[in-house]
Symmetry: D4
Amino acid sequence: MQWTVYLSGEIHTDWRQQLMNGCEARNLPVSFTSAVTDHEASDSAGDVLGKAENQFWRDHRSAKVNAIRIRTLISNCDLAVVRFGEQYKQWNAAFDAGFCAALDVPYITLHDESIVHPLKEVDAAAMAWATTPEQVVEILEYVTSQQ
Amino acid sequence: MQWTVYLSGEIHTDWRQQLMNGCEARNLPVSFTSAVTDHEASDSAGDVLGKAENQFWRDHRSAKVNAIRIRTLISNCDLAVVRFGEQYKQWNAAFDAGFCAALDVPYITLHDESIVHPLKEVDAAAMAWATTPEQVVEILEYVTSQQ
Amino acid sequence: MQWTVYLSGEIHTDWRQQLMNGCEARNLPVSFTSAVTDHEASDSAGDVLGKAENQFWRDHRSAKVNAIRIRTLISNCDLAVVRFGEQYKQWNAAFDAGFCAALDVPYITLHDESIVHPLKEVDAAAMAWATTPEQVVEILEYVTSQQ
Amino acid sequence: MQWTVYLSGEIHTDWRQQLMNGCEARNLPVSFTSAVTDHEASDSAGDVLGKAENQFWRDHRSAKVNAIRIRTLISNCDLAVVRFGEQYKQWNAAFDAGFCAALDVPYITLHDESIVHPLKEVDAAAMAWATTPEQVVEILEYVTSQQ
Amino acid sequence: MQWTVYLSGEIHTDWRQQLMNGCEARNLPVSFTSAVTDHEASDSAGDVLGKAENQFWRDHRSAKVNAIRIRTLISNCDLAVVRFGEQYKQWNAAFDAGFCAALDVPYITLHDESIVHPLKEVDAAAMAWATTPEQVVEILEYVTSQQ
Amino acid sequence: MQWTVYLSGEIHTDWRQQLMNGCEARNLPVSFTSAVTDHEASDSAGDVLGKAENQFWRDHRSAKVNAIRIRTLISNCDLAVVRFGEQYKQWNAAFDAGFCAALDVPYITLHDESIVHPLKEVDAAAMAWATTPEQVVEILEYVTSQQ
Amino acid sequence: MQWTVYLSGEIHTDWRQQLMNGCEARNLPVSFTSAVTDHEASDSAGDVLGKAENQFWRDHRSAKVNAIRIRTLISNCDLAVVRFGEQYKQWNAAFDAGFCAALDVPYITLHDESIVHPLKEVDAAAMAWATTPEQVVEILEYVTSQQ
Amino acid sequence: MQWTVYLSGEIHTDWRQQLMNGCEARNLPVSFTSAVTDHEASDSAGDVLGKAENQFWRDHRSAKVNAIRIRTLISNCDLAVVRFGEQYKQWNAAFDAGFCAALDVPYITLHDESIVHPLKEVDAAAMAWATTPEQVVEILEYVTSQQ
């Protein structure tokens, strides 16, 4: 079985790349999907549909275009990894986690110990909490390949 | 029809009370439910089950006890109002919003204009964005009582 | 058992009233629900949330506020009656019918013979096609009260 | 991932062809499905099952045969595009949109600005509103291929 | 808890009455629902909607009107009892059983030993097979009232 | 798209073969699935699990083994064809039809005009009624291959 | 809101009574449901349907009659408490827990520390693990009544 | 059609291997999936995520990592075989059976006659009870390959 893993959250560090490299190095049967991670492109995803009336509606239109992709990919994945970094609000990552929880899509959180308390509800619904991409790679190896 | 409205998010201001007062003043057919909003009580919800091994597991145990209440109430409500304040991470509010979205429970967001951009995914899946409790009361009056 | 019947579609004739009167006259165990049928109120349902940027977003905001009510009431009803009149596009009525069909909510269409052809897909998924409110009343009497 | 896009609505202009050509020119990983778009063939889809008793039952029988195809394809698609033209009632397109909305199948509407008001409920449940096939092609490129 | 029991199948003997009498005599917390059991009324349920084109469409129209009632009541019941008699095809009873099975509505079959073999698929999905109404009453007493 | 069609019902005539030959002759993109149609084999499907205590339990055990296959194949098909012949009770065919109806699996009935009345509930939930395998082949060609 | 709590598992100690007494003493808005807990009655639940062919079929028939009650009550409850004692296999309790997990019915396990290891999968899907009925009462008070 | 069969339960005998060998010898179109069956590896599945605070939390963390695999594989299988041996509590096997039952995943139990009574609820929801792997192989041959 080929596993599909959706990568949600932080876009300002290279955790996605580390995770993909780690799985590739171990030759795991895992494919990755993700929202668009180019910040500019994501914010302007709906601009082709018309000029911005104001910030709210510009964001609204782009967020809905992005949602076409995000919801389809989350609904199709076998597992999600949701990453919370040190900076920014990252409400979209928590939103994705809630979405997974309601759909019974299992997910792993990836974040530092310093934000354990504000993430307690998100972690409580997760299947695991990891602090490094390497730990996630080990979990993926176990889940997909251990006899 | 009596409507049940779940109130999610910020617990450090009196927005819940304002909203309930407004609905009561107009005599609307609305009942309200909510997570436990006493911060201390919420954080120690699981303490009766054993002494804390460390911060993560204490939070974990309490968050799961709270989830018994939260998920049941969200699944039973007709509408949710999700409030984001100026302070704190409030990832649980975004998590609730994602949970509602996946279950097709309609929700209204309540937050200032200053945080429109980081909330764009949460707002994009909402049925409305309000900035004051009074606006939410007016929407509730319209939805539940307008002929 | 008390039956809940959702009335969808045309708002410019008194078919709702005829139907309700007919059921009341026969003392049927039926309650009725409906979208807001005051055209002005419906179009301005979202205006309390901000001034209109343009026609599209004004309509968008109001339509979503109305959807809070419509989707909840359709999801809670036992049967819907969807009325198509001679005038106007009435795409919302056809939209409601599609929504019912996908949720397995049974519905009856109410329209003249002159528009049988363009309504063929909507009628094909309906449980019955009636041409007068009185026929619907008779069906409701049979469904709810015949031994 | 190969995306499957269902094309619903107007059959009297070449918007389907424009959209398919545009995606092919950009080599997008998209497959298209659709109801039968040959008007004659569609209206007579059920004639093989018996001679027509009257217009209603002929339409009924054909619409149900068409529904075998339509519902299966909508249920299997990742995204729908629903086109409303200037002419005809097009209630089937609005019906398809309602069906998608209830099944959480994301859809994009494609129509001119002149019919924004009567389509407000249909647009409110859509993920995007486009006015030209080329805009839809750009959205599809973004959704399926942007990194 | 008040239990709702749907009674499906044979309409030419008094098994429904025996069952209801038995439950009443024991004062069980059970309410009963059923399709229309007046054969004439059932066959003409759709006649109010128009004159019959031929036997097939008359039956079709009436069967759909009856289905409004049947599906709603089956979906709302806690348990169904499906009765097969000696005579007639009774395909509607087997259809109801299949419908229950797919919706995870538990059902009890009620029939003589002589038709065990042709009913094997229907019995295999049932929670119990009884040969007399009195046995069903005893099961109902146990299920609803035993401590 | 390759369509999967489940063939339910009568096993004493060659309608399955006619239907498969017809589709093969037209080179349609259709695969067929079916319950075991060897009567002997079907009745003894559970005998490997133990000797028969009596007729009821032998049938019960075999019917459940057959149900493993039937339910999986029905749940996986795109369309079912349900055949009723002149002889036998054929309650399993009606049961399959009810199962399809509840799961929103579209189905076509195939039977003579002489049994229209007892099959009215089964036909009312079908997408089409055919009287010959050739008609079904034509419907399949239309549904799967018409542009 | 009145909460319905299903009590599953061990029937040889008085934990149910302790739990109910504790909730009554605190006047909590909780109703309790349960399988039949009279061992004799439960084992003979199906005997009214015929004499036992052998142990397997007697158990089978009784277990299915019991399942009518158990599945209905589990599907209708807001929360389950699953108790594992020192003795017996108690596979039915673990079966109920798996059933709850798949239906997203939250449950609390109640068992001693000595059997933590063999119950790890059951506990991992639970919302809480308690060792005494009094702890469960405290959780119920918090969940149902804390502001 | 290739069938996917999930093998649940006992890990201390070679029943999985016997079953796989038997299917391979008959060249059946069956693929097998399973939880990790290396006891050591399974118990330490979560150790990579942190050092054990105590037995409960170590088990908890590992059981959740294992659940990522188990739930995905059960949800994706066509049939499960659940094996109960003579030793150990095997509550996870009964939990898997309950999970299957609630999801309508058919399953076969595999156990000796000596434990028929404590397994009556688990067997009552199963499609078959076998006592040897060879019987299961025969059932699989019948289900997947009999014409």
